[in-house]
Symmetry: C2
Subunit: 234 residues, 2 copies
DNA sequence: CCAAAAGTGTTCTGTCTACACCCATGG
DNA sequence: CCATGGGTGTAGACAGAACACTTTTGG
């Protein structure tokens, strides 16, 4: 995939779905699906995303709940509960098989969107930027084990701006949250880089209901160059 | 009201309601109410809080939506949409009239709570701490016009720790977000303090759906010593 | 003049930034 | 031996913490 204009190596991408009914027929929109009585909200969101995009996200978090009376038709107010997901580089290798109605877009070049989905995406991105410091979050994007360069690429993709690699590396290492696995990873013909992971205590240190679901991980390594995210509505 | 143990002058308080039915009969819980078809979620939350506690909050924000299948009875999953409110010192003067089933508690000394309401409160507090920098938020607690000492008290109450007043004052003034109103406020027989307000641009600078509702304000001044917050469920 | 809160100055320390530099590797 | 990314050193700018100090007021 492409490289971003400014000195940034990686890019955030997300899948959109072309609407097949009114309103906004033919426009791009966030993937979505219905609520299921015997499932948690997270499970319903996961299913909605999976069925429309074939993604198996490793991170799923509730974003916001919308309940505008203008959307209601008669009885109860219509409520949309929006989730967002992160998909790591490893999963991505199998994904970009785009279905007929699904297409991946870089977040800095999105098409016109249906409803208020553009605003939802902007809000999700600001939340993501605020949380990128959390190991639980960044791990979903870069994988369990990673080099400092890979971690650096994810930070740049998420923040959208260039970060000095030398300073980044020092900051990360001095945080005490990373440990050297002893492994080396060679990219191309260059000097092999040390492979790190977050220490257990860093991964555990979070309190809220975020990061609750889908802790299953398939032992994958981050190798791709791009960073993927998805939003879904229930 | 009391003074906190450590050098902190003000305290965060919140209202709880004693449950009058099963489950958790007799236990303390967050105020709550039902959803209304012809109202937005915010309006419903506002109504729920108002009817149980007689509060007219000046700040209302969506916290999280719960939808555990374990809560369901048959049909659709039962969903709770939690909002939180901030109530400034001025409003407070009329409030602490506690109804039979409503009582105010300092957040560092809450009773046993029904359901998972304790966890909800903890999450709300961490969110509040993260947002206390935003003029839109702090203004709801301290009022439109305030002295630097009052602002300082709010910061201490919310963060729960002592903050050096001299440094605090410099930081605030150098931020460029405050402007001197020219007014003076005398407390007791001491030197009068300058009264400040946030500049318009600072109050406008926010993006998300938070801070959307209930912009009505009754031109009140913060004079009380305590800071109040409320959570409600819909 | 005293107490108490308002408000100012100064020093110290740690963190962020920019950028020069050295190291390891395969071709 | 050279190009490329991995990795280290260092000097200046800046922001926060600690705390001594001065000012204004009513009693």
């Amino acid at each position: 995939m492409d490289t971003a204009p400014n000195g940034i190596g990686s890019m955030l991408w997300m899948p959109l779905v072309k609407r097949v009914r009114q309103p906004f027929l033919g426009q791009w929109a966030l993937p979505g699906g219905g609520l299921r009585a015997d499932h948690s909200l997270e499970q319903s969101a996961y299913a909605a995303l999976e069925s429309t995009t074939s993604l198996h996200p490793r991170y799923l978090e509730q974003l916001y709940t919308f309940g505008d009376p203008a959307r209601s038709h008669g009885g109860l107010p219509m409520v949309s509960i929006v989730y967002w997901a992160l998909v790591g580089g490893a999963d991505a290798q199998t994904e970009p098989v785009e279905g007929n109605n699904v297409k991946w877009f870089p977040v800095d070049n999105l098409p016109e969107l249906a409803f208020d989905h553009r605003a939802i995406i902007d809000y999700a991105l600001s939340r993501l930027r605020g949380k990128i410091e959390y190991p639980q979050v960044v791990t979903r994007l870069v994988g369990e084990r990673f080099t400092l360069s890979q971690l650096h690429d994810v930070y740049e993709a998420v923040t959208g701006e260039a970060i000095d690699l030398a300073n980044f590396r020092r900051k990360m290492l001095s945080s005490g949250q990373l440990e050297d696995t002893g492994e080396k990873l060679r990219v191309g013909r260059n000097r092999p880089a040390a492979v790190y992971r977050y220490v257990q205590s860093a991964l555990r240190q979070f309190s809220s209901w975020d990061y609750s679901v889908n802790q299953s991980n398939h032992g994958s390594h981050a190798t791709g160059n791009d960073v993927l995210a998805a939003l879904t509505t229930v």
